[in-house]
Symmetry: C3
Subunit: 252 residues, 3 copies
């Protein structure tokens, strides 16, 4: 039994998700297919990368994670299988794996007939290529048979983080602003978009409708409004800096 997860921007109103699942179940009959998310904003590689980072490492070792957010489908980006932290990742090497795998991880191009369909539509690699590769892995075919080893090159629009500084890297369904500033570097308060916010524990530590910072479920600083949305309260889209600030106050 192999677990195959799906993270796509296919939405939940078309036949694309179904076509991929059909191929998986046709070619790997024992596979257990698990939906992670299909409403990634169309073509939003950075959004997909964060979703992958926050979910896939929870699965059992050896799970196969299909990630298909691929605005350059049919173009020059490479189709790859990567292995990282005992998880398998399959998709376009366009940055969707940026938080979970990099050039130091084992990866293979998907080129052999066993790992891709006979006819590959230039606009639907999810169905005709990536699903075939996932099913092949699920059946126990060795990844080394997929194609030559390669190095992952996909990156995200923002550069590497500088120590002691963070950026908003994701805005979630609730309008919470997720940053990449580790809790360990944040100290007692942070500044974002001109606001200084003490780092608290959870939403109920402030009155309703109040902005707060806290250590989120990825151990980085998050910004939220209790029972409200931080993304509309602040002008702080992805990429916005978040920095620790010293706090000198009566409570110390």
């Amino acid at each position: 039994m192999a677990i195959i997860t799906l993270t796509t921007d296919f939405g939940t109103r078309d036949g694309y998700v179904g076509a991929v699942k059909g191929v998986l179940l046709r070619l790997a009959e024992d596979a257990v297919v698990i939906d992670i998310a299909h409403d990634i904003p169309p073509g939003d590689i950075a959004h997909a990368a964060w979703v992958v980072a926050t979910s896939t490492h929870e699965f059992p070792y050896g799970s196969i994670h299909l990630v298909i957010v691929d605005p350059g489908v049919g173009g020059a980006r490479r189709e790859v299988i990567a292995k990282s932290s005992a998880q398998w990742y399959i998709g376009p090497d366009n940055g969707v794996f940026a938080y979970v795998a990099d050039a130091s991880d084992e990866a293979w191009a998907i080129e052999s007939r066993t790992f891709r369909g006979r006819r590959v539509s230039p606009t639907f690699h999810g169905r005709d290529l990536f699903a075939h590769a996932a099913a092949a892995l699920a059946r126990g075919e060795p990844a080394t048979d997929a194609g030559p080893p390669v190095r992952l090159t996909g990156t995200l629009p923002w550069g590497p983080r500088a120590a002691g500084r963070g950026r908003v890297v994701h805005v979630d369904r609730y309008g919470n602003l997720i940053t990449d500033l580790p809790a360990s570097e944040a100290g007692e308060a942070v500044s974002i978009d001109g606001n200084t916010l003490q780092v608290l524990r959870t939403y109920v530590d402030v009155p309703p409708n109040t902005l707060l910072a806290y250590v989120g479920s990825m151990n980085t600083i998050e910004i939220a409004v209790r029972d409200g949305r931080a993304d509309t309260r602040l002008d702080a889209p992805r990429g916005t800096p978040v920095v620790p600030v010293p706090v000198v106050g009566p409570y110390r």
Copy 2:
């Protein structure tokens, strides 16, 4: 094989659903994970309660229903396992179980190490606590090991229903207004927002674009517009009264 269902307000664009599924499959490898609904409006406990009421009792006895709509996460509401009508319910005791379980049902606080993760993020109990409890039950751990017995206290914003009267308790995807007025108390016609509507059988009993009342799939009165939306036609949000009215007409 244990069935674990998921009802959340996590949406379908973030990694939260995936993280919970990953924990479930890692800790209970034979579990079958079933999505009920993830687009519960954020923090809408009453909405979640209705979804739970209309779906979970259809599952085989012994199914485990995870319900995670938890605006007070990290605060004072209790984390519980409840058993009712041979179904297991796991989630915050904040009202999400109001239609399916109450103080007369067996329930346990989730306190033991076997039923919760070692480190629990104060903002993501779904991943770090409730998923662990569901997996423990799925593996066959007795609920009595979760923690001390407790009584459910969660309630919904509206009070108990008075006999012979109902309220709109849910507005569904189609804009239908679902009430808690039992068909048996409705008689032949009902009044809502100044409209008197004969209780009919189904949508096609009226011309397109026409308002109608009928006995819905939960055996309560529902209000709809054929091929249209009742929620925009009427000014009748949740809580709006619906009452039976005597009908004296030529058809009697």
Copy 3:
């Protein structure tokens, strides 16, 4: 083990999907339930028909496809099981199967007690009738026991296609316009809404934000805007004609 897929307009915020899944797993415990799509626009039969056409044929032979988009529920349309291309289809005979099955395929009315619930809500045949029929098939009950053989009569709003001409038949999540003009009839360029577009290979063959035509994943002509939406760029709703045009240019 039987695969049962679900294509509905139930959305992902109510209990309807869960109720159907509960019945399936209660009555056919070995069934593997697979979501295809639940965000079909409410009552949009033609949309559902395209989703079914683009996904179900990828599944293993013998899969059972439940399709519940049923604005006439409780009315005169027939409830059917159809068999086509070694796939099973269950739903209302209202046109949702128009692209995958027709009067030449075997079909049966769903009338027997084994294939429908004891009490059938006139507004929720998905739960009380179609799910029962799918579970019966999944358990191995012969379709001939469902009821008398019938001929499918459901059709779509647009008539049969004339040779050498196509229509927009679907608008997908990305705003791409999917047509039924086969690639083999399209030649090198097509005209839609006053635009003449060369038929290219994939999105990256044009600069960002540019309109293009290409052979889509169903081997018909599709119209898209690279990194944008064709449905808002053109005035070309479903039913809009797409015709091949001769191209005489310097590149020939």
